[in-house]
Amino acid sequence: MSRVFAIASNTFRESIRDKILLSLAVLGFLLIAASKVFVPISIGQQAKIIKDFGVGLIEIFGLLIVVLIGTRILYQEIERKTIYSIISKPVTELDFVLGKFLGLYYLIIVIQLILFSIFILFMKFYLGTIDWFLLNALYFYLFEFLLLDAVAVFLSCFTTPITAGILTLLVFFVGQLSHYLKDLVVVTGVSELSVLVNFLYFVLPNFSVFNVKANVVYHLPMSVNSYFLAFSYSILYALILLIISSLLYSLKEYQ
């Protein structure tokens, strides 16, 4: 396990020095602040607009970090040939993939915590009060990005960073529409589609499990099951993807 954490901390240190991260963090800060620009034309709904923008933009920045940084971390090792110094040590493929995955996940946790702290300060400054209920979104985002991180690592095992980035984005957006997939058969009336649709429904990660933005902004009650579902679903799915990734990685390296 110490080998995994060594790779993870190294990945974290490398990623934190990435110029893309700095640009994203500055952009994130500016955009959350920019929600104030919309207040004069929000027709008296400034509190809702600021909350929606804050919660939505923090998720978008998490997504961009995974897509722009997460899909490159494995590829960079091969490109810079640093992979050889790692595989020459007693490190298994699973250790390597897990280390890379955890390194990126540390980074996501740190960025999410920073963005939420900035958002809380904005709320205090602009609205005069802090809506602590919004922090429920942080819990769901952390599990959402755990899963998305695993998807990015999985896809970058067999594609280039650009392709992996595009595919990660696609998986995220299609995963948000999982509930529409089921309706597709009913709406189109094509029963032959049901096998394909059901296959996609169960195979693609269902990111709508983590979509609680409306609930946190409107203070709607959330059941304990939804917290448990987010936790168990993301960990199970991510574990399966990481094991497949390590298998793919071993094939790639020793072919």
């Binding site: 919309f38 008296g44 709904q45």
Partner: protein
């Protein structure tokens, strides 16, 4: 140096083109929202960020309304925008209540107003504000006092409904077209609204109701009242609405706010 010399005229040219582009492009006449997509489609493309998209559409609704209010005062796409907005964010109460009033008052489309409010009630069955506004629109615009009373009564049965809703149900049924009820209704709408647009609309309506009563007084008595208190003493109105921004006064026979 040569590159710099080439860059300067290019920048000047770009500034000229930007300055002139609004003159060259003819202004669109009513087609600005011709390609505004339908709610379910926006729902799909906004996947997971429905509220954020809904906020942009809410802002677009404000810009559209404000733009047309300053120009032709026609709002053919207002219902469509609000319909899409409420498809994406069905819990957003002001889009239903303020939208309902704007559709009935400015767009003169009480049918669309009712459609929007009915949709709001379907999606938010526990909220008192939407049936209250429906009662309000029946009272003020369609003049259907029985319907107005029914919706005020429904509103009063909802959780957190203020006592005033039940009083309105009784007043509307008892007084038919009473000036006092209109005054109270607009004042109530002024108090519950968080929207500056709706507050402004309520102030205008309150001013008009008071001014009409001043004219009625003149017709009946042959002279103007000395103050608004005289209207209360002679039972033309029962109270003077107190606003956050000041109070109504009668100055040179005209209603103003001080």
């Amino acid at each position: 140096m040569k590159k710099l010399l080439l860059l300067i005229p290019l920048i000047i040219l770009l500034v000229i083109v930007e300055a002139k582009c609004f003159e060259w492009i003819p202004e669109g006449k009513g087609e600005e929202l011709l390609f505004f997509p339908k709610g379910p489609f926006v729902g799909m493309i906004s996947s997971g960020f429905e509220n954020l998209f809904a906020d942009f559409i809410w802002i677009e609704a404000g810009v559209y309304f404000g733009g047309h209010r300053m120009a032709d005062r026609k709002y053919p796409y207002l219902y469509h925008i609000l319909n899409v907005q409420t498809d994406l964010d069905p819990r957003f109460i002001p889009a239903h209540t303020l939208g309902g009033v704007l559709l009935a008052d400015d767009a003169k489309r009480t049918d669309y107003s009712m459609k929007l409010l009915n949709k709001g009630m379907f999606n938010n069955p526990n909220r008192w504000e939407i049936p209250f506004v429906k009662g309000f629109i029946h009272y003020i615009y369609t003049k259907d006092y029985r319907e107005a009373s029914k919706w005020f009564l429904i509103s009063s049965m909802k959780k957190d409904a203020p006592d005033m809703t039940l009083k309105f149900a009784v007043w509307t049924l008892a007084s038919e077209e009473g000036v006092d009820v209109a005054l109270k209704l607009w004042f109530r709408l002024y108090n519950i609204s968080t929207s500056p647009l709706l507050k402004e609309k309520a102030i205008k309506a309150l001013t008009k109701v008071l001014q009409d009563q001043v004219l009625h007084f003149k017709e009946d008595k042959g002279h103007y009242p000395r103050s608004l208190s005289e209207l209360i003493e002679t039972d033309y109105i029962s109270f003077i609405p107190q606003l956050d921004i000041g109070k109504f006064v009668l100055k040179e026979n005209q209603i103003s706010i001080e």
